[in-house]
Symmetry: C2
Subunit: 141 residues, 2 copies
Amino acid sequence: MQQPVDQIVQTLRDKGLRVTPQRFAVYSNLLARADHPTAEQILGDLNQAAPTSSQATVYSSLQALRDVGLVREVLLEEGICRYDANVAPHHHFRCSSCGAIEDIAWEQFQNISLDQLRPGLQVEDYEVTVRGQCDRCTPTS
Amino acid sequence: MQQPVDQIVQTLRDKGLRVTPQRFAVYSNLLARADHPTAEQILGDLNQAAPTSSQATVYSSLQALRDVGLVREVLLEEGICRYDANVAPHHHFRCSSCGAIEDIAWEQFQNISLDQLRPGLQVEDYEVTVRGQCDRCTPTS
DNA sequence: CTTTGTGCAAACGATTTGCAGGATG
DNA sequence: CATCCTGCAAATCGTTTGCACAAAG
């Protein structure tokens, strides 16, 4: 996920987005993180050292990035909108104890048979959400 | 889904909930509907003829019903929390054009193999969300 | 008659918007 | 130098809360 600066800049330009420090920061932060942060968490992260961005800008950056398909939202909990720079199709695991979210490779559920769905439905894609306990929350030895 | 009044009353009592007209209305409305309405839609539906319930009550009824496991929330779109009286595990189809939501039988994806997941994860359940076009939105003849 | 639910209105948190000034290409 | 972005603050949306009154068991 770690990408050189030039490449990120190029990606943004290719999508027709102006490269501003704030927008760049939001995107590269999202690229560098393994979790799926909320807008609030991104803002906090960016402003950790010194204030570099306002909340309105983070929101609008996320919207712009989503509009051009560089970012997608992940909805697993009520009232919580998370963001993910991994737009390739993949699934999610969510720990029902600590709430940690982890990616599951797309190939994991490649064998799903959609052919028996009600006729008339045209499938574009699908996503599996798995709920359970992660290792940290499992009292396993 | 259509259930006799007595049975609904009994279900609520069994769960330790007092049976008030408002709470009864919320639950039976949810039972009778095939879609997955939002709190707002339920309120509007109940107050269609005459005002019978306030928004605060609808929200608290939904919360009470959810707490005792008679209702669950369905999260498919950003910022939209839908409710479902079908608490049996099942999957969802969402039309990416009109937003209509449709249930998919649990058995449809029963053949999912979770055994190759990263060791350390303890699976409790999973859910598949399929996105596509419903018949009304497909320009098929 | 005790406990719990209702309704109102105010409070709330997350996200959006209007607008003036500033930076990008 | 035209366009688009940023930041602030105010607005908005869905949901929650405090409290006095009413109803359920």
